[in-house]
């Protein structure tokens, strides 16, 4: 039981990360990761939808005929997206305007329907919820990392516009780390997202490779030599 949760968290955060390994949901990932605030906002929204839809799908899984399960899942996901969208509209209006079309587009995020189909429709609700939480955290972490890199290189700041997400007090979170006369616009523009994500994936693979090399270096017990020819 315990080890299953450990596997779930490891999969969601690292081994089977939706953004770095499955490469799902790249459209919002690349489009709104211009600043940390936008990335965090969309990351949290996706996380909430993922947890909610996973739990609901898991609860209704025994009442849904197999033939129409996909439309049902989509309706469930769309419901949660609508909830999140209306909530953001009410409480974080600035961020809602900044993210624009990409909030309703969470419906089409393949990572969510992928988890509903692959995991939630086969497991009970608390496991499915935990899986949604971990997958959502993994997705949000990549989103925030990419947003931080792009914001830092493109503007020299971090948490610019955090008050849109967290309220007035958060405007003091904005840090100007580097002062550019001419920022590297490429990082803010769409190509910067692709190049940044490429570097993140390369970094993950490099770390994995290092880990594997370390494991491979561990001494292997010498096998007994067996003589197979010329046995007299």
């Amino acid at each position: 039981m315990n080890s299953e949760y450990r596997t779930l968290s490891k999969d969601g955060l690292w081994e089977n990360n939706p953004a770095l390994v499955q490469l799902l949901g790249l459209c919002p990932l690349l489009a709104v990761s211009g600043t940390v605030t936008n990335a965090l906002g969309l990351g949290i929204a996706t996380l909430l939808v993922l947890v909610g839809s996973n739990i609901t799908v898991s609860l209704v899984r025994n009442f849904v005929p197999n033939e129409i399960r996909i439309p049902v899942f989509v309706i469930v996901i769309a419901t949660f997206v609508t909830l999140v969208e209306l909530t953001m509209n009410a409480f974080t209006y600035g961020l809602y305007m900044a993210l624009g079309i990409f909030i309703p587009l969470i419906v089409t995020n393949c990572a969510i329907i992928g988890r509903a189909e692959a995991y939630a429709s086969k497991n009970n609700w608390y496991k499915a919820g935990f899986d949604g939480l971990m997958m959502g955290l993994g997705f949000a972490a990549v989103l925030v990392a990419l947003g931080a890199i792009r914001e830092l290189i493109g503007q020299g700041t971090l948490f610019d516009g955090a008050e849109l997400l967290l309220g007035e007090w958060a405007s003091s979170l904005r840090i100007q780390l580097i002062e550019f006369d001419y920022p590297l616009l490429l990082a803010i523009l769409p190509p910067g997202a692709f190049i940044g994500l490429g570097f993140l994936i390369a970094g993950k693979n490099w770390l994995d490779e290092k880990k594997r090399e370390k494991l491979a270096k561990a001494p292997v017990e010498k096998a007994q030599r067996a003589r197979v020819t010329h046995v007299s």
Partner: protein, 358 residues
Amino acid sequence: MSFYIASSPHHHQRRTTAKLMQWVLIAMLPGFLAQLYFFGWGVILQLLLAIAVALAAESLCLLARDRAPSTGLQDNTAIVTAALLAVSIPPLAPWWIIVIGTLFSIVVVKHLFGGVGHNIFNPAMAGYVVLLISFPVQMTAWMPPTGLATQAPSFIDSLYLFLFQFTSEGFSLEQMRRVDTGAMLDAVVMATPLDHLKTQLSQGATLSEAMQHPQFTGLAGMGWQWVNLGYLLGGLLLLQQRIIQWHIPVALIASLAFCALLGSILAPDYLPGLSIHLFSGATMFAAFFIATDPVSAATSSKGKLIYAGLIGVLIYVIRSYGGYPDAVAFAVLLANLCVPVIDQYTRPVTYGHRKEQG
């Protein structure tokens, strides 16, 4: 007595990559000298810094990839990339522009894709596009060619502008770029011929009105035509030395010329004519030095014709209808992307075999 047995292409002259690259550098000289004459000392400063950065980046990358830097440095490819990039950017752009561009070219475009012979994009052009997208102001700040400039910056001034963006007397680059237009008493900031035409045409002027500007003398604008003729001369030298084959330059120039002729027949007042397209901007430079990069270009002869023809069309389309005045870098990168497909469908038939029916 031992015989030396070599495998099949039995060249009489065995040329190494380093030798080829040396020839490319030599062939760049006429165009480079023309640029030096018309655009001042900045060209040399850019070139020197670019080569220094390229060699340093190349060595570090090779070290990081567990390869001996000496072998990689001796093939001169990094120097050629640096030189191609250095002559593409405005001569008095601040020093960090060329540093960022060269680093991107060598580290990301060349070595992350596997080093010499493995880059799918032309490193110099990818570096140029990164710079153009990131720093549009600095990357379009070309000096007016000598002869139009009110004051040509001296070597010291060029060095100051290059390092600090101000001359020793405190003039900014913007002030140095002003020219006397003669007709108007006001001095205006200079734009390149293609840039000037683009702006004027987009403001509703006709081509002949836009061409009233004093920089349009001779074929295609003061200075630029000579730079292009210089690169044409160097390109012919490369052809004569058989460093490059005729396919790419001929197909590129032919398809661009065809489009330009068609354009000037259909809309003579709104689309720049043949001479502008061929002898302004970076056309000749692209045809002989950029598109002919043996790594990122198509392989077979037929493939080369298609590849270069595509570049020509793209240059014309982007120049005429795109957002940027010149389009060589974008066109080359887009064509680079198509190379795997082109190679797939233009694979020559093995001798003695029939063409596969498909």
